[in-house]
């Protein structure tokens, strides 16, 4: 497995594909610590986003771990932890 990292730009792209973007949200701004609710994404949007991340990065993340990540920084952390353990194993 490639030693790949899940970046904020990956997240921005996948969020847009999975769930679109609210007009009043600047997804390209500094959003690392902005809550997903503030960014206009509900739990279903995050579920769809998570499924797409799993498909693209070849990992499996429990639904609870996905939906408990309240900010992009937390989700990056969750995904990258999974990526690290996947490449270590």
């Amino acid at each position: 497995m490639l030693n790949r990292t899940f970046t904020i730009d990956d997240l921005r792209r996948i969020l847009r594909e999975a769930a679109g973007q609210d007009e009043w949200v600047d997804l390209d701004g500094d959003i690392l610590d902005t809550g997903f609710d503030e960014l206009g994404y509900d739990s279903l949007a995050l579920l769809e986003t998570g499924t797409r991340v799993e498909r693209e990065f070849g990992i499996k993340i429990e639904d609870e771990a996905l939906t408990s990540a309240r900010t992009p920084r937390a989700l990056l952390g969750t995904v990258n932890t999974h990526l690290a353990s996947a490449s270590a194993s």
């Binding site: 999975a18 679109g20 973007q21 206009g40 279903l44 579920l47 769809e48 799993e54």
Partner: protein, 428 residues
């Protein structure tokens, strides 16, 4: 509790026109939206014509946030609701929180979306099925999405009775207004011109197999051989008449004056189908005698047996050639749950303009003894219109619309002239 229900806004998406103004001018010009299917290759199917809405791209009208989670029928419904609210001059955010709701009819749900996700499931696996499949295919999704978009949190719902649904939804909205809702967005919208939706429609055995758009859908014609399905519909803004007046509604298209719905007897009993009784119930509800109806918008199945039943019901109530009858849906095809809602819009616009739109392409069979309006729009002083709709499986509904009170000032308004929409738990 009595309530007169008026229509104060129209949102139309039809194969021959996007927006009420475009639809209506196309309809008066006899412009058809029926053609060979373009949304998939119909070559291998026994029916190949449909009324498709061309040039509608949901993303042109709606936020990107809504696109991945919506079927085409929901995108059409969201846009029609936007237009209807603008037409009515209503700003939903200014309404009391639970005073306004949404009632739509649906025939199939989001078939095109559902087909795509089923294909993902069998070709790629469960990981590739959209999370939004959870609701995007629901019958109730149009009501839900319109409610969420505009914060319309009052009594809402969905009715499923095929083509009769467009009237049944408006009747249910009238009930909600009688129970205290200030405003309801109501009507029907369907769009299932995709292989899965097409297979489901073919199962009825009632689709036209013609490849000629001007000979494919000929209700009340000796050549009738089935109908052309279509996509689209209409959403109406319904308000209690006093509330509409109090907020200074700029347009009152007319009043929902009466409604009747019946269910056909079980096949094989030899009993009369329910349509005539639905008409009589609607007239009674509106406080009208048959001679008080100025025009009938027919269900127009274009299946000979069903045409015969409808013509018999109309002539039983109104007499042979006793009332002008028309079917502007010959220009759109049959829109499932959207059809009767669109006919309500057409009926109200007919009353406004004093013009009955024509039935396109049809040479009326004399045996039906109908005064069918064909060729050109017919000028007429119209104060009332009766809209008929039948749904597959035995549903028959009839609804009377009446000119707005200002246009019929000489008429004494009585409690009998309200939209009572039949017995309900709140009526004692």
């Amino acid at each position: 509790m009595t309530a007169r229900v008026v229509v104060t806004g129209l949102g139309v998406t039809a194969p021959n026109g996007l927006g009420a103004a475009d639809y209506w001018s196309a309809t008066l010009l006899g412009k058809s939206g029926v053609g060979r299917i373009t949304r998939f290759d119909p070559a291998g199917y026994p029916a190949r014509l449909a009324g498709e809405i061309q040039d509608f791209v949901g993303a042109d009208h709606l936020p990107s946030r809504l696109i991945p989670q919506t079927d085409r029928m929901t995108q059409l419904a969201l846009v029609a609701a936007d237009w209807a609210l603008v037409d009515a001059g209503v700003v939903p955010a200014e309404l009391p929180e639970f005073s306004a709701g949404v009632v739509t009819a649906s025939s199939s749900g989001g078939f095109e979306f559902g087909q795509g996700e089923l294909q993902n499931l069998w070709r790629k696996g469960g990981q590739y099925v959209s999370a939004y499949q959870a609701f995007a295919w629901f019958y109730a999704v149009n009501s839900g999405q319109v409610s969420i978009r505009h914060g319309l949190r009052g009594a809402s719902g969905v009715v499923v009775s095929d083509q009769a649904g467009g009237l049944d939804a408006v009747a249910h909205a009238c009930r909600q207004i009688r129970r205290g809702s200030a405003l309801v967005v109501a009507g029907g919208m369907d769009a299932s011109i995709c292989p899965w939706g097409w297979a489901a429609q073919l199962a009825s055995g009632r689709l036209s197999r013609s490849d000629e758009p001007d000979r494919a859908y000929l209700p009340f014609d000796a050549r009738a051989g089935g109908f052309v399905p279509a996509e689209g519909g209409a959403l109406l803004i319904l308000e209690e008449a006093g509330a509409a007046r109090a907020r200074g509604a700029r347009t009152v298209y007319g009043e929902i004056a009466g409604y009747g719905a019946t269910f056909d007897p079980r096949p094989g009993l030899g009993r009369e189908p329910g349509l005539r009784r639905a008409i009589e119930l609607a007239l009674t509800d509106a406080g009208l005698e048959p001679d008080g109806v100025d025009v009938v918008f027919a269900d127009a199945a274009a299946v000979p047996e069903l045409d015969r039943i409808e013509a018999a019901a109309i002539t039983a109530v109104f007499g042979p050639r006793g009332v002008p009858v028309t079917a502007p849906k010959t220009m759109t095809g049959r829109l499932c749950s959207g059809a009767a809602a669109l006919d309500l819009a057409a009926a109200l616009l007919s009353i406004r303009d004093g013009l009955i739109p024509p039935t396109l392409n049809v040479s009326p069979a004399p045996e039906y003894r109908l005064d069918l309006v064909t060729g050109q729009p017919r000028p007429a002083a119209l104060r009332t219109a009766l809209v008929l709709a039948r749904g597959y499986g035995g549903f028959s509904s009839a609804m009377v619309v009446r000119a707005p009170a200002s246009a019929s000032a000489s008429e004494e308004t009585t409690e009998d002239n309200r939209c009572s929409t039949g017995p309900s738990p709140s009526t004692t």
